[in-house]
């Protein structure tokens, strides 16, 4: 597809903006004009017009007979997968925001990729204390220990309910991680709660708080 070849890897922002334009047209309904889109998205005029015309070239947008307004093109239906992924990302964000509102402490989401911990949604109010060690050394973080426990469980089949660490990364603070499972019960990620070590004592209370969220996120990040 030409649009993809013209948007080189150096312009990832352009793809975001293009999707934002489609989203804005969907939101506004048929007939929305280029100026209105530019105002709504807060993008510069020239940039908006260029994006819109690229989307018209590839027929994701259709110019209405008055030449001023736009509607979504039939080809947008081909974006169903993208839209689904967008929905999933939105749902994950909402679930995490909900959790963060109910828990006094940090809530982080990480996925496991090629045997590594990859943080994908870090609580903005509680940054990771040592991101590099967490991503390289599985044994120091609760999230990494989830992965180690899962490997051990292959020989002793007993599903891990949670893992913890206390004071490994920051003295006096600790972390509780629970598995996030996708289809076929496969371990796809982990949800970590970071808080003062003393408050981690109430394991069952914390698990009850986050269990539902982990179940909801599982299918959304399983790809």
């Amino acid at each position: 597809m030409t649009a993809v070849s013209e948007l080189s890897g150096r312009q990832p922002g352009a793809i975001h903006s293009a999707l934002a334009v489609l989203e804005a047209v969907a939101h506004a309904g048929p007939g929305v004009t280029a100026q209105q889109l530019s105002d709504r998205l807060g993008l510069p005029r020239a940039t908006t017009y260029r994006l819109i015309n690229l989307l018209v070239e590839d027929e994701y947008l259709v110019r209405m007979p008055d030449l001023r307004g736009f509607a979504l093109g039939r080809k947008v239906a081909e974006l169903a997968d993208v839209a689904h992924a967008q929905d999933a990302a939105l749902s994950v964000r909402e679930t995490l925001a909900d959790l963060r509102g109910r828990i006094r402490g940090g809530v982080h989401l990480a996925v496991f990729r090629h045997g590594h911990v990859v943080p994908v949604d870090v609580d903005p109010d509680f940054p990771l204390s040592d991101p590099r060690r967490i991503t390289t050394d599985l044994s120091v973080s609760a999230l990494g220990r989830l992965l180690l426990a899962e490997r051990a469980a292959r020989t002793i089949p007993s599903p891990t309910r949670y893992t913890t660490q206390e004071g490994e990364l920051t003295p006096g603070f600790g972390c509780l991680a629970i598995p996030v499972r996708g289809k076929d019960d496969r371990l796809v990620g982990g949800l970590a709660l970071a808080m003062p070590a003393a408050r981690l004592a109430d394991r069952d209370g914390l698990l009850a708080l986050v269990a539902d969220s982990a179940v909801r996120i599982g299918p959304l990040i399983d790809d």
């Binding site: 969907a26 018209v56 259709v62 209405m64 509607a71 974006l79 839209a83 929905d87 909402e94």
Partner: protein
């Protein structure tokens, strides 16, 4: 997933709502809508430009006017045409219109400008087609002269050749746009290849000369340079004709602008290369490009490869036929569009039921394209002289249409609420350059040997004014409709027809 946490985009996809305000049929229905790929659209522009014929013949014509400023004149013409292409693409990215330039001008400046542009386009496309038919006849005669010396100059033979070539064009065009586009492209590519072979051979044979000896202008006056630039512009005209296939192109908003942009760039490159080769050749062998009547043949025989001349005559004949095909295609689409709007007789707006071509418009177009040059020949002109006359008319038509579209560009963008400074400045510069070059050219022709061209242009202008007066009286509603373009139908949008 609940309805709450879904984006508006995915709601629109899974539950599309109907879009109001779309016509059930495009005003351009009947044409083979959305059928042509990139290659076929490219073929239209490349064919109309006929770059191989222009690359072989134009440098000498430019050199006769601009002397040592020849390369500079080609460069100026290339820049000017690139600016025009940029302005035209502001429209082609936003609407698909069979009427091309005149639809654009009407959308930016209103009915009168649209009508004037339509007249200018008919003159431009029509006279280029005549030029091409004459050129094909001329180079066929040159070919025949190689075998039988007495053939040249025979009046009835020229008329017969014009009729035959006109008939071939009509036959190909009537049968369908896809066949004619493919035929055009194959012919033109073959003759470009022949030109490139010749350039390669010449560059290898000719002793290397200092680049500055032929590239730097010395003692060229402004008017001379402007006249050279005008002739160089005639080598480019036609690049915009892909826009007349906007309705028939599969992805018009992508393929048409791309075709227009790349045709100008590629043709410019070819012309600079060809002009430089010819200048360097004459510089090395002695003599002057300006005074040679068939410079490429001269150079080929001096470089010891006279056989290329034969190849070239055949290639140029083909290139001119391709040019006639492409120009008639464009002319036919413009007549068709005028017929659909009711400005020209309604019959011109009909399409062939099986081939889906505007067959009546094409037939009338070809008839005029054969009749005018035949008349010039019957009045005692040889094909070469007649070509000199019609090419001036064609250039004037094209440049007028270009200038009007450039002026229309900023107004159009403001009207649809997408005005930005860049295109407005480019269009302004282009319009100024075109008006200056055309004005100077007409001024020179009035007092020169081609006054007849100016007379024909004056007749065409008076004819256009009369036609406009008639339309104002009897076809008011049709005039109000000028500038029809392809409108999306429900099946193009999400949530339209199933």
């Amino acid at each position: 997933m609940t309805a709450l946490n879904r984006t508006a985009l995915s709601r629109a996809i899974s539950d599309p709502r109907p879009v109001d305000g779309l016509p059930s049929r495009s005003p351009m229905a009947g044409l083979d809508r959305r059928s042509l790929g990139f290659v076929d659209v490219l073929a239209q522009s490349v064919g109309a430009v006929a770059p191989s014929a222009a690359a072989a013949t134009c440098p000498a014509l430019v050199a006769a006017r601009a002397g040592s400023g020849t390369l500079l004149a080609f460069l100026l013409a290339g820049v000017l045409m690139a600016l025009v292409a940029y302005a035209i693409n502001q429209f082609t990215r936003r609407m698909a219109a069979t009427g091309s330039l005149y639809t654009f001008a009407a959308r930016g400046l209103g009915v009168r400008a649209g009508f004037a542009t339509a007249a200018a386009m008919l003159v431009g496309y029509g006279f280029v087609a005549m030029f091409a038919l004459l050129g094909a006849a001329y180079y066929t005669l040159t070919l025949l002269r190689r075998t039988e010396a007495g053939v040249a100059g025979s009046e009835p033979l020229v008329i017969v050749l014009l009729l035959v070539f006109g008939g071939v064009c009509l036959l190909v065009l009537w049968r369908g746009i896809r066949i004619s586009a493919r035929v055009t492209l194959v012919i033109e590519l073959a003759s470009i290849a022949a030109i490139l072979v010749l350039i390669g051979v010449l560059l290898a044979t000719v002793p290397p000369t200092a680049f500055s000896a032929v590239a730097v202008p010395r003692g060229v006056s402004g008017p001379e340079l402007a006249a050279g630039t005008t002739v160089a512009i005639t080598a480019f005209v036609g690049f915009e004709s892909a826009a007349t296939l906007g309705v028939e192109a599969r992805r018009p908003f992508a393929t048409v602008p791309r075709t227009i942009r790349w045709t100008v760039i590629a043709a410019g490159g070819l012309y600079l290369l060809s002009a430089y080769t010819q200048l360097a050749g004459f510089d090395a062998f002695g003599g002057s490009l300006a005074s040679s009547s068939s410079p490429v043949n001269d150079l080929a025989s001096r470089a010891g490869v006279g056989w290329i001349g034969l190849l070239l005559d055949a290639a140029l004949t083909c290139s001119f036929i391709a040019c006639a095909l492409a120009s008639t295609t464009a002319l036919g689409r413009v007549l068709f569009s005028l017929g659909r709007e009711g400005i020209a007789p309604q019959a011109l707006g009909r399409t062939h039921r099986r081939f889906r071509t505007p067959h009546i418009a094409l037939a009338w177009g070809v008839a005029v394209e054969v009749a005018v040059p035949a008349a010039l020949v019957l009045f005692g002109m040889d094909p070469w002289q007649a070509m000199g006359i019609v090419v001036v008319c064609a250039a004037a038509g094209y440049m007028t249409a270009y200038a009007l579209v450039c002026v229309a560009t900023p107004f159009f963008l403001r009207r649809i609420g997408e005005f930005t400074v860049g295109p407005a400045v480019a269009a302004g510069v282009a319009a100024t350059g075109l008006v200056a070059a055309l004005g100077l050219d007409i001024w020179l022709e009035v007092s020169g040997p081609r006054w007849l061209a100016v007379f024909i242009l004056a007749v065409a202008a008076v004819g256009a004014l009369l036609a406009y007066a008639v339309c104002r009286r009897t076809r008011t509603q049709a005039l109000a409709r000028i500038g029809l373009y392809d409108e999306p139908t429900p099946k193009d949008v999400l949530g339209g027809a199933p």
